[in-house]
Amino acid sequence: MSIGSDLLRFSNRPILCADAETQRVNQLEDNLIFQWSFAEAVRGQITRMHDHYLGWDKGRFLPRMSAGAAQVTRFNPQWIINGEDPEHVLDVWESHARPDDPDGPILLGHNFLSFDTSLWRLWRLELGRSDLFPLSPALRRRILDTHLLARAWKEGFKAPARFGTDEFYAWQLKVAKAHRKGVKTNLAQMCKDLEIPVDSTRTHEATYDIWLNVAVYWGLVNKMEI
Protein backbone atom coordinates (compact mmCIF):
# COMPACT_ATOMS: atom_id res chain seq x y z
CA MET A 1 0.00 0.00 0.00
CA SER A 2 1.55 3.33 -0.98
CA ILE A 3 1.57 6.44 1.20
CA GLY A 4 -1.69 8.32 0.96
CA SER A 5 -3.59 5.46 -0.65
CA ASP A 6 -5.93 5.41 2.34
CA LEU A 7 -7.09 8.95 1.61
CA LEU A 8 -10.78 9.39 0.81
CA ARG A 9 -10.04 10.69 -2.67
CA PHE A 10 -8.76 7.20 -3.57
CA SER A 11 -11.52 5.31 -1.79
CA ASN A 12 -14.18 3.34 -3.65
CA ARG A 13 -16.27 3.09 -0.49
CA PRO A 14 -19.91 3.90 -1.29
CA ILE A 15 -21.22 7.25 -0.11
CA LEU A 16 -24.71 8.28 0.86
CA CYS A 17 -25.22 12.03 0.78
CA ALA A 18 -28.43 13.03 2.56
CA ASP A 19 -30.40 16.14 3.28
CA ALA A 20 -33.54 16.69 5.37
CA GLU A 21 -36.19 19.36 5.21
CA THR A 22 -37.94 19.75 8.55
CA GLN A 23 -40.66 21.60 10.42
CA ARG A 24 -38.17 23.75 12.35
CA VAL A 25 -34.57 23.83 13.54
CA ASN A 26 -35.31 22.46 17.03
CA GLN A 27 -33.35 19.26 17.71
CA LEU A 28 -35.11 18.25 20.93
CA GLU A 29 -38.65 17.42 19.78
CA ASP A 30 -41.69 18.71 17.89
CA ASN A 31 -39.73 18.44 14.66
CA LEU A 32 -40.38 15.95 11.91
CA ILE A 33 -38.66 15.53 8.58
CA PHE A 34 -41.05 16.06 5.69
CA GLN A 35 -38.57 15.56 2.87
CA TRP A 36 -35.65 13.14 2.98
CA SER A 37 -33.43 13.03 -0.07
CA PHE A 38 -30.23 11.09 -0.53
CA ALA A 39 -27.83 10.20 -3.28
CA GLU A 40 -25.74 7.07 -3.71
CA ALA A 41 -22.28 7.99 -4.94
CA VAL A 42 -18.78 6.67 -5.39
CA ARG A 43 -15.73 8.92 -5.63
CA GLY A 44 -17.76 12.03 -6.34
CA GLN A 45 -20.01 10.44 -8.96
CA ILE A 46 -23.69 10.08 -8.15
CA THR A 47 -25.08 6.71 -9.22
CA ARG A 48 -28.64 7.03 -7.94
CA MET A 49 -30.87 9.68 -6.37
CA HIS A 50 -33.68 9.12 -3.90
CA ASP A 51 -36.25 11.75 -3.03
CA HIS A 52 -39.08 11.14 -0.60
CA TYR A 53 -41.85 13.21 0.93
CA LEU A 54 -43.11 11.73 4.18
CA GLY A 55 -46.88 11.38 4.54
CA TRP A 56 -47.31 12.12 8.26
CA ASP A 57 -50.81 12.47 9.72
CA LYS A 58 -51.72 15.88 8.31
CA GLY A 59 -53.90 16.75 11.30
CA ARG A 60 -50.85 16.47 13.54
CA PHE A 61 -48.14 17.65 11.16
CA LEU A 62 -49.56 20.70 9.41
CA PRO A 63 -50.47 22.79 12.48
CA ARG A 64 -46.91 22.32 13.76
CA MET A 65 -45.21 23.41 10.55
CA SER A 66 -43.27 26.57 11.43
CA ALA A 67 -43.84 29.66 9.31
CA GLY A 68 -40.12 30.21 8.90
CA ALA A 69 -39.41 26.70 7.63
CA ALA A 70 -42.48 26.82 5.36
CA GLN A 71 -41.22 30.01 3.76
CA VAL A 72 -37.62 28.86 3.28
CA THR A 73 -38.65 25.50 1.80
CA ARG A 74 -41.66 26.88 -0.14
CA PHE A 75 -43.62 24.25 1.69
CA ASN A 76 -46.67 22.72 0.00
CA PRO A 77 -49.13 20.83 2.25
CA GLN A 78 -49.80 18.43 -0.63
CA TRP A 79 -46.36 16.96 -0.02
CA ILE A 80 -47.61 15.61 3.29
CA ILE A 81 -51.08 14.71 2.08
CA ASN A 82 -49.66 12.71 -0.84
CA GLY A 83 -46.47 11.63 0.88
CA GLU A 84 -45.14 8.14 1.42
CA ASP A 85 -45.45 6.10 4.58
CA PRO A 86 -42.71 7.43 6.93
CA GLU A 87 -42.00 3.86 8.09
CA HIS A 88 -41.38 2.76 4.52
CA VAL A 89 -39.10 5.71 3.78
CA LEU A 90 -37.13 5.06 6.97
CA ASP A 91 -36.73 1.41 5.95
CA VAL A 92 -35.53 2.46 2.49
CA TRP A 93 -33.02 4.90 3.98
CA GLU A 94 -31.73 2.47 6.59
CA SER A 95 -31.46 -0.41 4.13
CA HIS A 96 -28.90 1.79 2.40
CA ALA A 97 -27.36 3.48 5.45
CA ARG A 98 -27.09 0.25 7.49
CA PRO A 99 -26.71 2.01 10.88
CA ASP A 100 -25.42 -1.12 12.64
CA ASP A 101 -22.82 -2.03 10.01
CA PRO A 102 -19.32 -0.63 10.63
CA ASP A 103 -18.49 -1.39 6.99
CA GLY A 104 -21.53 0.47 5.70
CA PRO A 105 -21.33 3.48 3.40
CA ILE A 106 -19.93 6.89 4.30
CA LEU A 107 -22.81 9.05 5.54
CA LEU A 108 -22.34 12.53 4.20
CA GLY A 109 -24.13 15.84 4.35
CA HIS A 110 -23.80 19.56 4.97
CA ASN A 111 -24.49 19.83 8.71
CA PHE A 112 -25.18 16.10 8.76
CA LEU A 113 -23.35 15.56 12.05
CA SER A 114 -24.67 18.68 13.75
CA PHE A 115 -28.28 18.53 12.58
CA ASP A 116 -29.47 15.75 10.28
CA THR A 117 -28.45 12.92 12.63
CA SER A 118 -30.60 14.53 15.36
CA LEU A 119 -33.56 14.65 13.00
CA TRP A 120 -32.99 11.08 11.84
CA ARG A 121 -33.05 10.17 15.51
CA LEU A 122 -36.36 12.02 16.12
CA TRP A 123 -37.80 10.27 13.06
CA ARG A 124 -36.89 6.88 14.55
CA LEU A 125 -38.22 7.78 18.02
CA GLU A 126 -41.48 9.04 16.50
CA LEU A 127 -41.94 5.59 14.95
CA GLY A 128 -41.13 3.80 18.22
CA ARG A 129 -37.69 2.61 17.18
CA SER A 130 -34.58 2.58 19.34
CA ASP A 131 -32.58 5.70 20.09
CA LEU A 132 -29.67 6.53 17.79
CA PHE A 133 -27.93 8.34 20.64
CA PRO A 134 -25.36 7.89 21.93
CA LEU A 135 -23.92 7.24 18.49
CA SER A 136 -22.47 3.75 18.18
CA PRO A 137 -18.96 3.26 16.81
CA ALA A 138 -20.50 1.73 13.65
CA LEU A 139 -22.31 4.98 12.99
CA ARG A 140 -20.12 7.78 14.33
CA ARG A 141 -17.03 6.56 12.47
CA ARG A 142 -18.88 6.76 9.14
CA ILE A 143 -20.32 10.26 9.41
CA LEU A 144 -18.66 13.03 7.42
CA ASP A 145 -20.01 16.55 7.68
CA THR A 146 -19.05 18.68 4.68
CA HIS A 147 -19.91 21.89 6.54
CA LEU A 148 -17.28 21.01 9.14
CA LEU A 149 -14.85 19.85 6.46
CA ALA A 150 -15.31 23.19 4.72
CA ARG A 151 -14.57 25.09 7.93
CA ALA A 152 -11.50 22.93 8.58
CA TRP A 153 -10.25 23.61 5.06
CA LYS A 154 -10.72 27.37 5.33
CA GLU A 155 -9.21 27.60 8.82
CA GLY A 156 -6.34 25.23 8.12
CA PHE A 157 -7.36 22.66 10.76
CA LYS A 158 -5.58 19.38 10.11
CA ALA A 159 -7.29 16.11 10.97
CA PRO A 160 -5.23 14.16 13.54
CA ALA A 161 -6.28 10.80 12.18
CA ARG A 162 -7.84 9.25 9.14
CA PHE A 163 -11.56 9.21 8.52
CA GLY A 164 -13.18 6.15 10.06
CA THR A 165 -11.79 6.56 13.57
CA ASP A 166 -13.09 7.97 16.83
CA GLU A 167 -10.27 10.52 16.68
CA PHE A 168 -11.66 11.81 13.38
CA TYR A 169 -15.18 11.95 14.84
CA ALA A 170 -13.91 13.89 17.88
CA TRP A 171 -12.01 16.22 15.54
CA GLN A 172 -15.27 17.01 13.73
CA LEU A 173 -16.80 17.90 17.13
CA LYS A 174 -13.87 20.26 17.73
CA VAL A 175 -14.34 21.90 14.34
CA ALA A 176 -18.06 22.31 15.12
CA LYS A 177 -17.14 24.46 18.14
CA ALA A 178 -14.62 26.54 16.22
CA HIS A 179 -17.05 28.84 14.45
CA ARG A 180 -15.53 32.20 13.61
CA LYS A 181 -17.56 35.16 12.39
CA GLY A 182 -17.02 36.00 8.76
CA VAL A 183 -15.90 32.53 7.69
CA LYS A 184 -18.63 31.43 5.29
CA THR A 185 -19.07 27.73 4.71
CA ASN A 186 -22.60 27.34 3.35
CA LEU A 187 -23.06 25.30 0.19
CA ALA A 188 -23.37 28.32 -2.07
CA GLN A 189 -20.13 29.84 -0.79
CA MET A 190 -18.29 26.54 -1.02
CA CYS A 191 -19.37 26.11 -4.63
CA LYS A 192 -17.93 29.57 -5.32
CA ASP A 193 -14.69 28.80 -3.49
CA LEU A 194 -14.29 25.42 -5.20
CA GLU A 195 -15.33 26.84 -8.59
CA ILE A 196 -18.30 24.49 -8.92
CA PRO A 197 -20.74 25.95 -11.45
CA VAL A 198 -24.21 26.51 -9.99
CA ASP A 199 -27.53 26.86 -11.77
CA SER A 200 -29.14 29.49 -9.55
CA THR A 201 -32.63 28.65 -10.88
CA ARG A 202 -32.40 25.22 -9.25
CA THR A 203 -30.87 25.93 -5.87
CA HIS A 204 -34.15 25.46 -3.99
CA GLU A 205 -34.50 21.85 -5.20
CA ALA A 206 -33.47 19.26 -2.58
CA THR A 207 -31.93 16.86 -5.11
CA TYR A 208 -29.93 19.67 -6.76
CA ASP A 209 -28.57 20.67 -3.34
CA ILE A 210 -27.42 17.09 -2.84
CA TRP A 211 -25.76 17.12 -6.25
CA LEU A 212 -23.88 20.27 -5.20
CA ASN A 213 -23.07 18.72 -1.80
CA VAL A 214 -21.42 15.70 -3.43
CA ALA A 215 -19.47 18.03 -5.69
CA VAL A 216 -18.33 20.07 -2.68
CA TYR A 217 -17.31 16.86 -0.89
CA TRP A 218 -15.28 15.77 -3.91
CA GLY A 219 -13.67 19.18 -4.19
CA LEU A 220 -12.69 19.19 -0.51
CA VAL A 221 -11.31 15.64 -0.25
CA ASN A 222 -9.08 16.40 -3.22
CA LYS A 223 -7.64 19.38 -1.37
CA MET A 224 -7.35 17.90 2.13
CA GLU A 225 -5.34 15.06 3.59
CA ILE A 226 -8.25 13.01 4.92
Binding site: R24, V25, N26, Q27, L28, E29, D30, S66, A67, G68, A69, T117, S118, R121, D131, L132, F133, P134, L135, S136, P137, R140, F157, D166, Y169, A170, L173, K174, K177, A178
Partner: protein, 280 residues
Protein backbone atom coordinates in the same frame (compact mmCIF):
# COMPACT_ATOMS: atom_id res chain seq x y z
CA UNK B 1 -19.39 14.34 48.47
CA UNK B 2 -17.30 11.21 48.76
CA UNK B 3 -17.23 8.21 46.48
CA UNK B 4 -20.53 6.37 46.35
CA UNK B 5 -21.07 2.98 44.75
CA UNK B 6 -24.51 4.02 43.52
CA UNK B 7 -25.35 6.43 40.73
CA UNK B 8 -25.70 9.76 42.51
CA UNK B 9 -28.30 12.22 41.21
CA UNK B 10 -26.84 15.71 40.93
CA UNK B 11 -29.53 18.38 41.04
CA UNK B 12 -29.17 21.88 39.75
CA UNK B 13 -31.35 24.88 40.52
CA UNK B 14 -32.39 27.81 38.38
CA UNK B 15 -29.80 30.01 40.09
CA UNK B 16 -27.36 29.21 37.29
CA UNK B 17 -29.82 30.50 34.67
CA UNK B 18 -29.43 28.68 31.36
CA UNK B 19 -26.60 26.53 32.67
CA UNK B 20 -28.70 25.27 35.57
CA UNK B 21 -31.85 23.30 36.15
CA UNK B 22 -35.45 24.27 36.75
CA UNK B 23 -35.63 23.49 40.45
CA UNK B 24 -36.14 26.20 43.04
CA UNK B 25 -35.20 26.26 46.72
CA UNK B 26 -38.51 27.07 48.38
CA UNK B 27 -39.09 25.38 51.70
CA UNK B 28 -41.23 22.24 51.64
CA UNK B 29 -44.95 22.86 51.35
CA UNK B 30 -44.59 26.50 50.31
CA UNK B 31 -46.15 26.01 46.88
CA UNK B 32 -49.06 24.02 48.27
CA UNK B 33 -49.64 26.63 50.98
CA UNK B 34 -49.74 29.35 48.34
CA UNK B 35 -52.20 27.30 46.28
CA UNK B 36 -49.75 27.05 43.38
CA UNK B 37 -50.33 24.04 41.14
CA UNK B 38 -48.01 24.93 38.28
CA UNK B 39 -44.53 26.33 38.14
CA UNK B 40 -41.08 25.08 39.08
CA UNK B 41 -40.76 22.37 41.69
CA UNK B 42 -38.87 22.97 44.87
CA UNK B 43 -36.01 20.55 45.52
CA UNK B 44 -37.14 20.53 49.13
CA UNK B 45 -40.61 19.29 48.11
CA UNK B 46 -39.04 16.64 45.87
CA UNK B 47 -36.78 15.49 48.70
CA UNK B 48 -39.74 15.19 51.05
CA UNK B 49 -42.05 13.31 48.69
CA UNK B 50 -39.29 11.02 47.44
CA UNK B 51 -37.85 10.40 50.92
CA UNK B 52 -34.39 11.57 49.91
CA UNK B 53 -31.95 11.79 52.82
CA UNK B 54 -28.92 13.08 50.92
CA UNK B 55 -29.38 15.69 48.21
CA UNK B 56 -26.41 16.63 46.03
CA UNK B 57 -26.76 20.01 44.35
CA UNK B 58 -24.36 21.51 41.82
CA UNK B 59 -24.71 25.24 41.18
CA UNK B 60 -22.35 27.90 39.94
CA UNK B 61 -23.21 30.36 42.72
CA UNK B 62 -24.31 30.37 46.36
CA UNK B 63 -27.63 32.10 45.70
CA UNK B 64 -29.73 29.14 46.83
CA UNK B 65 -27.29 27.63 49.32
CA UNK B 66 -28.83 28.98 52.51
CA UNK B 67 -32.45 28.31 51.47
CA UNK B 68 -31.53 24.77 50.42
CA UNK B 69 -29.67 24.04 53.64
CA UNK B 70 -32.64 25.12 55.72
CA UNK B 71 -35.39 23.76 53.48
CA UNK B 72 -33.80 20.36 52.98
CA UNK B 73 -33.24 20.02 56.72
CA UNK B 74 -36.93 20.67 57.19
CA UNK B 75 -37.62 17.99 54.58
CA UNK B 76 -35.45 15.53 56.52
CA UNK B 77 -32.51 15.64 54.12
CA UNK B 78 -28.90 16.81 54.18
CA UNK B 79 -27.54 19.12 51.51
CA UNK B 80 -24.26 18.29 49.79
CA UNK B 81 -23.33 21.38 47.84
CA UNK B 82 -20.95 21.39 44.89
CA UNK B 83 -19.78 24.76 43.60
CA UNK B 84 -19.21 24.65 39.84
CA UNK B 85 -16.30 26.94 39.07
CA UNK B 86 -14.92 28.08 35.74
CA UNK B 87 -11.15 27.61 35.66
CA UNK B 88 -8.85 29.35 33.21
CA UNK B 89 -5.10 29.43 32.55
CA UNK B 90 -4.50 32.87 34.04
CA UNK B 91 -7.22 34.99 35.60
CA UNK B 92 -5.20 38.16 35.03
CA UNK B 93 -5.53 37.68 31.29
CA UNK B 94 -8.92 38.87 30.18
CA UNK B 95 -9.25 38.54 26.41
CA UNK B 96 -11.14 36.42 23.92
CA UNK B 97 -8.20 34.05 23.50
CA UNK B 98 -8.35 33.18 27.20
CA UNK B 99 -11.83 31.69 26.74
CA UNK B 100 -10.43 28.85 24.67
CA UNK B 101 -8.83 27.09 27.66
CA UNK B 102 -11.67 27.48 30.14
CA UNK B 103 -13.11 24.41 31.76
CA UNK B 104 -15.15 23.61 34.85
CA UNK B 105 -14.56 21.89 38.14
CA UNK B 106 -17.01 21.11 40.92
CA UNK B 107 -15.79 21.80 44.44
CA UNK B 108 -17.62 19.85 47.14
CA UNK B 109 -17.82 21.04 50.73
CA UNK B 110 -17.00 18.03 52.83
CA UNK B 111 -16.28 19.28 56.34
CA UNK B 112 -18.18 19.06 59.56
CA UNK B 113 -17.71 22.66 60.66
CA UNK B 114 -17.67 25.85 58.67
CA UNK B 115 -14.11 25.74 57.35
CA UNK B 116 -15.18 24.11 54.08
CA UNK B 117 -17.91 26.71 53.55
CA UNK B 118 -15.50 29.57 54.22
CA UNK B 119 -12.94 28.06 51.85
CA UNK B 120 -15.51 27.61 49.08
CA UNK B 121 -16.88 31.12 49.57
CA UNK B 122 -13.32 32.44 49.39
CA UNK B 123 -12.73 30.65 46.07
CA UNK B 124 -16.00 31.97 44.65
CA UNK B 125 -15.25 35.51 45.85
CA UNK B 126 -11.85 35.48 44.18
CA UNK B 127 -13.42 34.19 40.95
CA UNK B 128 -16.25 36.74 41.06
CA UNK B 129 -14.01 39.73 41.81
CA UNK B 130 -10.40 39.40 40.68
CA UNK B 131 -11.08 36.75 38.05
CA UNK B 132 -14.37 37.94 36.59
CA UNK B 133 -14.48 37.93 32.76
CA UNK B 134 -18.02 37.43 31.47
CA UNK B 135 -18.41 34.94 34.36
CA UNK B 136 -16.60 34.37 37.67
CA UNK B 137 -13.30 32.64 36.83
CA UNK B 138 -10.35 31.36 38.78
CA UNK B 139 -7.04 30.01 37.56
CA UNK B 140 -5.36 26.74 38.55
CA UNK B 141 -2.63 28.52 40.51
CA UNK B 142 -5.10 30.44 42.66
CA UNK B 143 -7.30 27.38 43.11
CA UNK B 144 -4.32 25.45 44.45
CA UNK B 145 -3.14 28.32 46.65
CA UNK B 146 -6.53 28.70 48.34
CA UNK B 147 -7.44 25.02 48.51
CA UNK B 148 -8.59 23.49 51.79
CA UNK B 149 -8.43 19.88 52.94
CA UNK B 150 -12.17 19.90 53.75
CA UNK B 151 -12.95 20.46 50.08
CA UNK B 152 -13.20 17.66 47.51
CA UNK B 153 -12.31 18.29 43.90
CA UNK B 154 -14.36 16.73 41.12
CA UNK B 155 -14.45 16.93 37.34
CA UNK B 156 -17.89 17.35 35.74
CA UNK B 157 -18.43 14.98 32.81
CA UNK B 158 -19.46 17.37 30.06
CA UNK B 159 -17.40 20.44 30.95
CA UNK B 160 -14.12 19.35 32.55
CA UNK B 161 -10.74 19.79 30.90
CA UNK B 162 -11.07 16.17 29.69
CA UNK B 163 -14.24 17.01 27.74
CA UNK B 164 -12.86 20.32 26.51
CA UNK B 165 -9.57 18.82 25.32
CA UNK B 166 -11.45 15.98 23.59
CA UNK B 167 -14.25 17.93 21.89
CA UNK B 168 -12.88 21.42 21.35
CA UNK B 169 -9.55 22.95 20.34
CA UNK B 170 -8.75 23.68 23.99
CA UNK B 171 -5.36 22.56 25.17
CA UNK B 172 -5.72 22.55 28.92
CA UNK B 173 -2.99 21.33 31.19
CA UNK B 174 -4.60 21.34 34.63
CA UNK B 175 -2.73 21.93 37.85
CA UNK B 176 -5.11 20.27 40.24
CA UNK B 177 -4.93 20.83 44.00
CA UNK B 178 -3.61 17.91 46.03
CA UNK B 179 -5.95 15.36 47.47
CA UNK B 180 -8.53 12.94 46.17
CA UNK B 181 -10.19 13.60 42.85
CA UNK B 182 -13.66 12.42 41.90
CA UNK B 183 -14.18 12.11 38.15
CA UNK B 184 -17.89 12.27 37.47
CA UNK B 185 -19.27 9.96 34.80
CA UNK B 186 -22.79 10.73 33.63
CA UNK B 187 -24.97 7.70 33.03
CA UNK B 188 -27.62 7.28 30.32
CA UNK B 189 -27.97 10.93 29.30
CA UNK B 190 -28.18 9.96 25.59
CA UNK B 191 -25.94 12.69 24.23
CA UNK B 192 -24.45 11.66 20.87
CA UNK B 193 -20.84 11.69 22.08
CA UNK B 194 -21.35 9.97 25.45
CA UNK B 195 -19.39 6.87 24.46
CA UNK B 196 -16.17 8.61 23.42
CA UNK B 197 -16.33 10.89 26.46
CA UNK B 198 -16.84 7.91 28.77
CA UNK B 199 -13.79 6.21 27.26
CA UNK B 200 -11.69 9.34 27.74
CA UNK B 201 -12.78 9.67 31.36
CA UNK B 202 -12.09 6.01 32.11
CA UNK B 203 -8.63 6.25 30.52
CA UNK B 204 -7.80 9.27 32.66
CA UNK B 205 -8.94 7.57 35.88
CA UNK B 206 -6.94 4.45 35.04
CA UNK B 207 -3.83 6.57 34.58
CA UNK B 208 -4.32 8.83 37.63
CA UNK B 209 -3.75 7.25 41.06
CA UNK B 210 -5.58 10.00 42.98
CA UNK B 211 -8.69 9.79 40.77
CA UNK B 212 -11.83 7.75 41.42
CA UNK B 213 -14.71 7.36 38.99
CA UNK B 214 -18.08 8.41 40.40
CA UNK B 215 -21.19 7.57 38.39
CA UNK B 216 -23.74 10.35 38.47
CA UNK B 217 -26.81 11.59 36.66
CA UNK B 218 -27.40 15.31 36.41
CA UNK B 219 -31.05 16.13 37.03
CA UNK B 220 -32.27 19.49 35.74
CA UNK B 221 -36.04 18.91 35.71
CA UNK B 222 -38.60 16.43 36.97
CA UNK B 223 -40.22 14.69 33.99
CA UNK B 224 -38.92 14.16 30.46
CA UNK B 225 -41.67 16.45 29.18
CA UNK B 226 -40.05 19.29 31.08
CA UNK B 227 -37.00 19.16 28.82
CA UNK B 228 -39.02 21.45 26.57
CA UNK B 229 -39.49 23.85 29.48
CA UNK B 230 -35.73 23.87 30.00
CA UNK B 231 -35.16 24.59 26.32
CA UNK B 232 -37.83 27.30 26.31
CA UNK B 233 -36.19 28.90 29.35
CA UNK B 234 -32.78 28.82 27.67
CA UNK B 235 -34.32 30.35 24.54
CA UNK B 236 -35.95 33.16 26.55
CA UNK B 237 -32.59 33.98 28.12
CA UNK B 238 -31.13 34.25 24.61
CA UNK B 239 -33.28 37.04 23.31
CA UNK B 240 -32.85 36.17 19.64
CA UNK B 241 -33.91 32.54 20.03
CA UNK B 242 -37.29 30.89 19.65
CA UNK B 243 -38.84 27.42 19.90
CA UNK B 244 -38.57 27.11 16.11
CA UNK B 245 -34.95 28.19 16.17
CA UNK B 246 -33.46 27.78 19.65
CA UNK B 247 -29.84 28.78 19.70
CA UNK B 248 -28.77 26.18 22.23
CA UNK B 249 -26.27 23.96 20.50
CA UNK B 250 -26.81 20.24 20.89
CA UNK B 251 -29.94 20.36 23.06
CA UNK B 252 -31.16 16.91 22.06
CA UNK B 253 -31.71 14.98 25.27
CA UNK B 254 -34.71 14.61 27.58
CA UNK B 255 -32.83 12.37 29.98
CA UNK B 256 -31.56 14.97 32.45
CA UNK B 257 -34.73 14.25 34.41
CA UNK B 258 -35.72 12.79 37.75
CA UNK B 259 -38.06 10.50 35.83
CA UNK B 260 -35.11 9.10 33.87
CA UNK B 261 -33.10 8.64 37.08
CA UNK B 262 -35.90 6.70 38.72
CA UNK B 263 -36.17 4.38 35.71
CA UNK B 264 -32.42 3.88 35.69
CA UNK B 265 -32.57 2.82 39.34
CA UNK B 266 -35.50 0.49 38.67
CA UNK B 267 -37.86 2.58 40.77
CA UNK B 268 -40.62 3.12 38.21
CA UNK B 269 -42.63 6.32 38.16
CA UNK B 270 -43.59 7.85 41.48
CA UNK B 271 -47.20 8.90 41.98
CA UNK B 272 -46.36 12.58 42.00
CA UNK B 273 -44.46 12.22 38.74
CA UNK B 274 -47.53 10.68 37.13
CA UNK B 275 -49.55 13.69 38.27
CA UNK B 276 -46.98 16.07 36.86
CA UNK B 277 -47.07 14.28 33.53
CA UNK B 278 -50.85 14.45 33.40
CA UNK B 279 -50.85 18.10 34.40
CA UNK B 280 -48.37 18.81 31.61
Amino acid sequence: MTHNADIVPLFSTGAALKDGGLFVAEKPGAAKKAGRKHGPLSLCDLAKTEGLKQVHVVDDRFANFYALTKGLKEAGATLHFGLKLTVCDDMAVKDEASLKNESKVVVWMNGDGSADYEAAINLYSLAATEGFYYVPRIDWKTLRAHWHSDLVMSLPFYSSFLARNLMSFASIVPDLPPGPLLVLQEVDQRMPYDEILTEAVERYVAATPSATLQRVKSVYYTTRQQARTQLTWASILDRGASWDKPRVDGFTSREFSWESYRELMGLGMAGNLSEQKEAA
